[in-house]
Symmetry: C2
């Protein structure tokens, strides 16, 4: 059945791959699934037709026959459950891979979101300069724990899985800040994710949408 | 196989049921599964034995035979996948229920966490009074969207499911702030969750741990 996802008509990051459609594109590429993309404007995202697909008016969404899904984690899990390459087959290892997916979005991403919000939404506030280091410390606290767990391993729990896809995607949001460079094993982990052919195809596909016109 | 979860020896909320073990207890009660609880101190949570179970040094964890899991969302999903009562059986409805689980932890909980952090970690900062309403507005923005989607429905998508369990649990964190009262359909939704016998048993069980000694 044909798969259609939505993505920004113009990504706020200008094509750095940080919009969440990249996570879904990556999962689809790992699974070897063709997909179509419907681009939506910021205005259209808040209109009834899109809100029926995504109650929070965001991208990506996922449509496949009668199924409409929102939430990147759920979409990636849906793909991973149905196609080889993103979840181990052994039951316990599969449950642990899903735990890393939730860890990415519920333990690691929240402080990173708070750090992003501090810059994006409060960059002009009088408290910004004094507050930002506090928020950065909360990010560092999580990264230290994650770095300790990863150690010298290539991936979080055995072979590459949907948990790594989500975690690498979350960590990528930090690259521009330089914070990631303080954790060499995490920086190398993220680089391993980016080096995967499926990631490269996903990145190129989102960049093609967001590339400024030549000339 | 026997199930053992971990919980705070002394919950920071003093037994209001907001610690995340309540979510797992609730899922276990909905599924009708007996479980044991191992209480851990704040100090023990940061020691190697617990960090081996939970890389971020938190509760709850879940042990069942050889399987050890962390992340509440993953634990609830693990229970929901194996026992009736928490996920629809039809494939599309099941995928949507999981989408609501991710929505709870990745779209609704992050602004609520930021609001909680503003009070807990920055309540003594000079910017606190001016900043708190901004953070509250981010919470309201999400709640408005969630309230619009819920409408007059009893649960988020058909029958009660793990997505509702997670969403109600996330929204409960807001009760003390009074923000929830501005969204009557969400407040009623949360009350329906709390009225479920399984929730009541879960709440009572965590309260029994945290009750101050009589006298």
């Amino acid at each position: 059945m044909a798969i259609t996802i939505t993505a920004f008509e113009q990504s706020p990051d200008g094509g750095k791959g940080l919009a969440r459609d990249t996570r879904v594109r990556w999962a689809l590429e790992e699974a070897g699934l063709p997909y179509q993309v419907r681009l939506v404007s910021f205005r259209a995202m808040k209109e009834p037709a899109h809100l029926a697909l995504h109650p929070f008016g965001q991208i990506p969404t996922y449509e496949e026959g009668d199924l409409a899904l929102f939430e990147t984690g759920a979409i990636v899990l849906h793909i991973a459950e149905r196609h080889a390459g993103l979840l181990p087959t052994a039951a316990d290892a599969r449950a642990r891979a899903i735990a890393w997916m939730f860890a990415a979005v519920n333990s690691v991403e929240p402080p990173i979101l708070e750090f992003a919000n501090a810059k994006l939404l409060e960059g002009d506030k009088p408290w910004h300069a004094e507050r930002l280091p506090l928020v950065a410390d909360r990010v560092r606290s999580r990264l230290s724990q994650l770095a300790a767990r990863l150690g010298d391993a290539e991936w979080l729990d055995g072979a590459f899985c949907a948990g790594d896809l989500m975690m690498v995607s979350v960590l990528l949001r930090l690259r521009a800040s330089g914070i990631l460079d303080d954790y060499p094993n995490l920086a190398a982990y993220v680089a391993r994710g980016e080096a995967r052919p499926a990631y490269k195809r996903a990145f190129a596909a989102q960049l093609a949408v967001n590339k400024p016109p030549a000339g």
